[in-house]
């Protein structure tokens, strides 16, 4: 059993322990390169064969004033020799590069955990900026944790002295010094980082050498200097399915999945996007992949982004657009047109905290109402949600499949946490994916007969007719239409029939998706913890622990939010109680109640941070009490 909050006892530490899982948090100023440090530590950890999950936590400001609490950037990684599903409830180790980083993060450190602080940054000025009246490294206020501090800044300066860098540039190597120390602590190989630095600074070899020197110095410091309280841990490789692995962030895996989906459909892809945090990464990734028949278009706004994608779908490519909540709101009218004209489209929503600008860099899953209900009029569309960075790959393919088979826009929900977080991913064997090639309709009607752009097949989908096809010239638009011909038709019968058909078509999607499974536990359990999206990890661990205590709990994770699998109602009704943990104020809970009249109880959190396992465990205890 993975224990994300595993406490390293003194005894364990003394015996060079085999820790099952360790949570490390790197925290510093946004200019300190903490995301980079975390990313590289992740890579070396993945290469060491550990399972892992990460949580990058950075400010909305690009460069907040140095040394302030709101400029603190942190990167948390949970890695272990067993399956890791979350970034960890509480760090075991906090590496604080300045007073502000300590201030913001220390309360989350588990009691008895280790603080490593750069005392070189604990000047009177920096202490004041962080709001400390006294130096916490000296006043005993950190007594419930193990504290070690040394002058990382000075040690870095000493290490890179031979390379003649300016003071500012030299201090930039601090993060590599810290990374070196962390690599030593957890017995990680330095070579991949050295290779990476040599590539990154290929054009400035002196910077590469200085950074490598800092990395080595940090490592050597751990090895040679007696640091009170700092012990070396070996975290063994996690068991994993044999195969080729890589790390992947949600944004990367989404991009790959969309490319795979387009290839399986036999379509060229058109991606219309507009920069918005945290969705922009998808545009960045796709814009480099032209060899896969991808056109990326940075539009003038969110509306033009979706409209151009719909235009491309109309012209016979796979139109895709992506944004975050506020941008999706702007796209809503165009989504209605895509529903009305029944064109395939994939809309990716990387959710963030809201409403309005809200918490642009923090995670939340509060756009479920927007996805399911959030349009004017009766405008249903399929909604699916990814649960993790790796899962986003499968969900993207599924979104393309549904969009093209049913001629409908599909909303794919992910969130800021999934988009930025990394996890190991077993590289899929693409030959194992069944292609779902699209066939465009090209049979001109017989003399005297009408073109029927709104005829229906068994799925109730209409034919996809590309402009350029002779004899099938026709007009489509947002006005209600006559079934079959698609000619403008405001008559009561036409609107009733078309509204019913649009809804029935979306409901038909349920016929080609798998039945809802119970991913842990059994149908009929006393309690089901039902979740969706990125809460998968903490729910799964919490349910696993509760089962370990002998409790009759099941975990149901919903990928297909709309329509839901056919057996969902029956399954939910088999449980005595249902709780629905969500990073919103109870949105899936509402949908479940609405659709199935079940007594689903909410468990909500909107702090901008993912659930902790312990929070869900407590809710399970309470529900079963």
């Amino acid at each position: 059993m993975a224990t994300a909050t595993h406490i390293i006892t003194e005894e364990e530490a003394a015996s060079h322990p085999q820790a099952e899982a360790v949570v490390v948090r790197f925290a510093g100023d946004s200019g300190d390169g903490m995301q980079l440090t975390g990313g590289q530590f992740t890579l070396s950890t993945a290469l060491a064969g550990n399972d892992l999950a990460t949580f990058p936590d950075f400010p909305a400001e690009i460069r907040a004033p140095q040394g302030t609490t709101f400029g603190v950037s942190a990167f948390q990684i949970n890695f272990g020799s067993t399956a890791i599903e979350t970034a960890g409830d509480q760090p075991d180790v906090l590496i604080a590069m300045n007073p502000a980083a300590l201030k913001v993060n220390v309360d989350q450190l588990r009691e008895g955990g280790l603080i490593i602080a750069d005392e070189g940054e604990f000047s009177a000025r920096n202490l004041a900026k962080a709001g400390y009246e006294q130096n916490p490294l000296e006043d005993g206020s950190l007594a419930k944790w193990q504290l070690v501090h040394f002058n990382i800044s000075q040690l870095t300066l000493d290490a890179v002295k031979p390379f003649g860098l300016g003071n500012k540039e030299a201090l930039r190597c601090k993060n590599m010094w810290t990374l070196g120390l962390a690599l030593w602590m957890f017995d990680r190989d330095r070579q991949p980082i050295v290779d990476w630095l040599n590539t990154k600074f290929a054009k400035a070899p002196e910077l590469a050498e200085a950074n490598i020197a800092a990395l080595n110095a940090g490592h050597a410091y751990g090895e040679t200097v007696e640091i009170g309280g700092v012990h070396r841990h070996h975290v063994a490789a996690a068991p994993a399915e044999p195969g080729l692995y890589r790390t992947v962030t949600g944004a990367e895996s989404l991009a790959l999945g969309l490319v795979a989906g387009a290839q399986l459909a036999g379509l060229k892809m058109f991606f219309g996007g507009y920069p918005i945090t945290p969705a922009s990464a998808l545009l960045h990734h796709l814009s480099r992949l032209k060899e896969f028949g991808i056109t990326t278009f940075q539009a003038e706004d969110e509306i033009a982004a979706i409209c151009s994608a719909i235009g491309a779908s109309y012209a016979g490519q796979l139109g895709i657009t992506s944004s975050s909540g506020p941008g999706i709101a702007l796209k809503t009218e165009a989504l209605g047109l895509a529903i009305m004209t029944e064109l395939p489209l994939v809309v990716v929503n990387s959710q963030r905290g809201g409403p309005s600008t809200g918490l642009p860099t923090k995670t939340e899953q509060s756009d479920l109402y927007q996805a399911v209900y959030g349009r004017n009029a009766d405008a249903p569309l399929p909604v699916i949600a990814a649960r993790s960075p790796a899962d986003a790959f499968e969900c993207a393919i599924e979104a393309v499949r549904i969009a093209t088979r049913y001629m409908t826009p599909v909303m794919l929900l992910t969130d800021g946490y999934i988009a930025n977080a990394a996890e190991p991913w077993r590289v899929p064997d693409m030959s194992g994916y069944e292609p779902f090639p699209v066939s465009f309709f090209d049979k001109a009607p017989a003399e005297g007969e009408s073109v029927m752009p709104f005829a229906r097949n068994g799925d109730l989908a209409r034919p996809w007719i590309k402009p350029g096809t002779e004899g099938l010239e026709h007009r489509i638009g947002g006005i209600e239409k006559q079934p079959g011909t698609g000619n403008i038709d405001y008559s009561p019968g036409a609107h009733q029939q078309m509204t019913d058909t649009r809804a029935a078509k979306v409901n038909k999607v349920a016929e080609s998706i798998p039945d809802q499974d119970v991913c842990l536990g059994n149908p009929g359990a006393k309690l089901a913890v039902v979740g969706w999206g990125s809460t998968f990890g903490p729910i799964h661990q919490a349910v696993r622990r509760a089962q370990g205590r002998g409790q009759d709990v099941a975990h149901v994770h919903i990928r297909h939010i709309w329509p839901m699998p056919k057996n969902m109602g029956e399954l939910l009704k088999s449980f005595d109680k249902i709780i629905v943990p969500e990073m919103n104020t109870g949105q899936l809970k509402t949908v479940l109640r609405d659709q199935f009249l079940v007594d689903a109880r909410p468990l909500n959190k909107v702090s901008g941070h993912p659930f902790r396992i312990a929070e869900i465990e407590a809710a399970i205890e309470e529900a079963l009490a």
């Binding site: 399915e241 219309g272 032209k290 002779e470």
Partner: protein
């Protein structure tokens, strides 16, 4: 003309749908002009797409026997961009109005022009919102009384062709709904590679009747219309008057037709184009192709860059998913 393209007639371009504009609407004349022009362009119906936004004019695509997409308010240029990028072989026409293109869709109009997407944009300017029953529009003159401005509008109107020029349009022309020269303007717009911006003065008989009468009425047309022809002198009033540059005040002035200083129309002259677009009171209205200076089109640049970036690379999905730093796990999994 592509020799494979079937010869068509105006009738071939009319769809079977009943046209539903108000009797006497200028839109009928524009529809007829377009249907009459299409056969002369040597284009195929199946390769032609009319894209529109919302408004009276935006019903236009339903009446053309080509492909057509009636989209949402103001966004037709964005749809057109996706269509043209997805299939550059399609001949794309954008049909829009003063509210659609310059109010709700002003942003998209600006960007489609600066990007220079190869399409024809026909802006039906009637200086009023017709479909919503007569509110003043961004091209309405100050003082326009309408249901939403019962005491007269107070905000100054935008000049569509100036907006286009400022947005970087490389083709700017004007026509009049019922004028016989409209097909020639349309042909020139079609011949231009890039975004062709055509403002068509269109009379709304119901909500803004005769708003352009001061220069469209038969009695004043000769005096008040200056039809520009590339390479020819800027003459009007039955070739009795012309335009010349007032080099002291750096503006245009009216001179006798035989004055040697009468300007020859050079559509590439952007400075003169600006002056022609905003000829002051007492001058005729400049019509025809005011400005044309071709530049590479957006879709051709995109296609070219996509091809260059893809050249020499194989679309190998397995290789793509296997990229980055990878590691092999060989051992059999064991239970956790």
């Amino acid at each position: 003309m592509n020799e494979m393209t079937k010869v068509t007639t105006a009738k071939d371009w009319a769809s079977d749908q009943e046209v539903r504009w108000c009797p006497g609407c200028g839109d009928y004349a524009v529809l007829k002009a377009v249907q009459r022009t299409m056969p002369d362009l040597g284009v195929a119906r199946e390769k032609t797409v009319f894209v529109s936004g919302i408004g009276c004019s935006s019903r236009f695509p339903y009446y053309m026997a080509s492909y057509g997409f009636h989209t949402i308010h103001g966004r037709a240029p964005a749809f057109a961009t996706g269509i043209k990028l997805a299939n550059p072989e399609l001949d794309v026409w954008v049909i829009t109005g003063d509210g659609d293109a310059l109010s709700i869709g002003g942003n998209h109009t600006m960007h489609v022009l600066r990007r220079n997407l190869d399409c024809q944009i026909l802006l039906f300017n009637n200086e009023i919102y017709g479909l919503t029953k007569g509110q003043y529009s961004p091209t309405s003159r100050v003082g326009t009384r309408s249901p939403s401005t019962p005491f007269g509008s107070v905000d100054r109107p935008v000049t569509p062709c100036m907006f286009a020029l400022g947005s970087g349009a490389r083709f700017i022309a004007r026509g009049i709904d019922v004028h016989k020269a409209l097909p020639d303007v349309l042909k020139a717009a079609h011949a231009h590679k890039g975004a062709s911006f055509v403002e068509i003065y269109q009379n709304c008989v119901v909500y803004n009747d005769d708003v352009f009468a001061s220069f469209t009425e038969r009695s004043v047309a000769q005096e008040k219309q200056l039809w520009l022809k590339p390479g020819e002198k800027m003459l009007f009033a039955g070739d009795t008057k012309g335009l010349a540059l007032d080099s002291e005040r750096l503006c245009l002035k009216i001179v006798e037709a035989d004055d040697p200083s009468v300007i020859v129309h050079d559509p590439k002259n952007r400075g003169v184009a600006a002056m022609l677009i905003e000829l002051p009171q007492g001058f005729p209205v400049a019509l025809g192709v005011i400005y044309e200076d071709p530049a590479p089109t957006f879709e051709s640049a995109v296609v070219e860059q996509n091809a260059a970036a893809a050249s020499g690379k194989k679309a190998d999905l397995q290789a793509l998913v296997s990229k980055g730093q990878t590691w092999q796990v060989d051992k059999e999994p064991h239970a956790i």
